[in-house]
């Protein structure tokens, strides 16, 4: 269903900030949580040192994945450029859950706070969720399942449906109803998504980086073994959102290669309720992405929330 843009009343785009008299044009709801805009930073791509310019741009804040204990991360190099994207291997450098929670106020951007967690074992995942369930400032928890399960020979938690089902159902229990997003990779995404929904995920975040290798031909060496992100993977992420939207009922959060306003629209049309911006924010301002998306909505005469899944065949 679509409304003419006139419906919005006064809509003015200031040079620095968007001002909506009728701000509901951009608003969406995710698992019952109202978001002022459908944009969320992708986990690991927005640090507390860089929150100045994103107030009012992101509908929620999502810091880098936290693990039970502090992690120092991988030795450099950790990032490399690729065609229309980049490869990273940061190694989940983070201060550990307790220290992170002590500093929670630093993540305040005047929007709901989501927390991404990862761990080595199902038990540790559950323990983190138990620690977070009573933390009122945390509106939702995102399980980052693209990390190795040390109890299963280092296979990722999202290696297949049975592993997904186990960790998700345990965390669902531990979170006692607090919204839980499950983040998956593109590999086996449909089967894993179905398993995650069955195990109680409230929303699915699709997708994490795609396994990649960067070779330095002159040095004849591996430069970096990590995950590919950026516009290069956008068609892969869109496909994941689209296919999964056909088989699950829970809302989807699209992520992969967003670098402009129409990218946001594409993810929502493919089935996403909200959209995360990762590497794209390194090369374009999230503010500009939101402005472009707002211009798209105006041009099309639709509200953001009406885009989700509103895709015709060609």
């Amino acid at each position: 269903m679509s409304f003419g843009w006139a419906y919005y009343g006064l809509f003015t785009m200031a040079s620095e900030h968007l001002e909506f008299v009728e701000s509901s044009a951009l608003a969406v709801e995710l698992c019952g949580i109202p978001l002022a805009t459908p944009l969320i930073p992708a986990a690991g791509t927005l640090a507390r040192e860089a929150l100045e310019d994103v107030r009012g741009v992101y509908g929620a804040m999502l810091p880098k994945t936290v693990t039970p204990a502090p992690r120092s991360g991988n030795p450099p190099p950790r990032v490399a450029e690729a065609a229309s994207g980049m490869v990273n291997s940061i190694g989940l450098q983070n201060p550990g859950l307790e220290r992170f929670l002590e500093d929670l106020e630093h993540y305040d951007i005047g929007a709901p706070l989501f927390v991404s967690v990862a761990a080595d074992t199902v038990g540790e995942f559950a323990a983190m969720c138990e620690r977070l369930v009573g933390e009122e400032r945390v509106a939702a928890v995102e399980l980052n399942l693209s990390c190795p399960n040390v109890e299963h020979g280092g296979l990722q938690f999202c290696a297949g449906p049975s592993a997904v089902r186990e960790v998700v159902s345990v965390c669902r229990g531990a979170l006692a109803g607090k919204p839980m997003f499950v983040k998956l990779t593109s590999e086996r995404v449909v089967a894993n998504a179905v398993a995650a929904e069955e195990a109680g995920a409230h929303a699915l975040t699709l997708i994490n980086t795609v396994p990649a290798l960067v070779v330095d031909a002159r040095a004849r060496g591996v430069f970096l073994r990590g995950g590919l992100s950026g516009p290069a993977i956008k068609p892969v992420a869109l496909r994941a959102v689209y296919e999964v939207s056909k088989v699950v009922e829970v809302p989807l959060i699209g992520v992969g290669g967003v670098a402009g306003g129409t990218d946001v629209a594409e993810f929502m049309l493919a089935g996403a309720t909200a959209v995360q911006v990762g590497s794209g924010s390194f090369v374009r301002e999230p503010q500009v992405v939101l402005e472009e998306f707002a211009a798209y909505l105006r041009e099309q005469g639709v509200f953001a929330r009406d885009l989700t899944g509103a895709l015709a065949g060609y």
Binding site: G44, T45, L46, A47, E49, A50, D53, K64, S72, G73, N74, P75, P76, P77, R78, V79, A80, E81, A82, A83, S84, G85, M86, N88, I90, Q93, G230, P231, A259, G260, S279, G280, S281, F282, V283, R284, E285
Partner: protein, 254 residues
Amino acid sequence: MKLHEVKVLGRERFGDHALLRYRWSGVAHEPGQFVMVRALSSPTLDPFLSRPLFVHDYDGEVVSLLFEVRGRGTARLAREDAGLLVSTPLGRGFVFDGKEPVALVGGGVWVSPLKFLSRALNTSGIAHDIYLEVPATASTAYADWLSKSYPHAVLIPTDGSLNSPKTVLSHLGDFSRYAAICASGPSEMLARVKEVSTVPAQLALRERMACANGSCYGCAVPLWREGARIYTRACIEGPVFGAEEVVDVQKSGD
């Protein structure tokens, strides 16, 4: 990261090196800081990431960048017709307590920030000597330009293949003549300064960067902090570090 379109005032080429000047009326730069840059004509995809470059010089109005053409990004930046997008000055540069004299030690294209540093020291009236390695691989055009651009520097031609770190340091002689060392050169030179300097040294490090605002944790530099080995982020805590706190100088910054 917000980038600003700036007016390029001039581009010069010396062999594989280029010097680019633009007008800047924003917040003032400090010696040792860097900027993220990209060609106006490639806003997103090719190349994807912006490139970090030291501020070579800054007189309050005009910024200059000195760089070597290596890959896609610098090739674009060096092209005559490309417009320029630049960030505000980023990171932490060299710091001084007023003690003198200071030795500025550099090599290759990494001599870049020492020009601005020398200007700032002159302004503060701090005595300093400049020692610059000129690797054998540098073009004559670049070597000539260096000698004109740093007229008071001791230029030391080296066998570039090994980056002969001993050469520049042996010219420098007894470190204790100086109150401090500021170094910006290839990783082997910086490692050597860290190893042998008997006086406080500051190293201008580089590391692969993506966000340049602390978000991605890409630009990891291993430091000793409170007795522990941690990775800090060169883009917001560096790129200039005290040599004593650096665990080791990574070659991924070369």
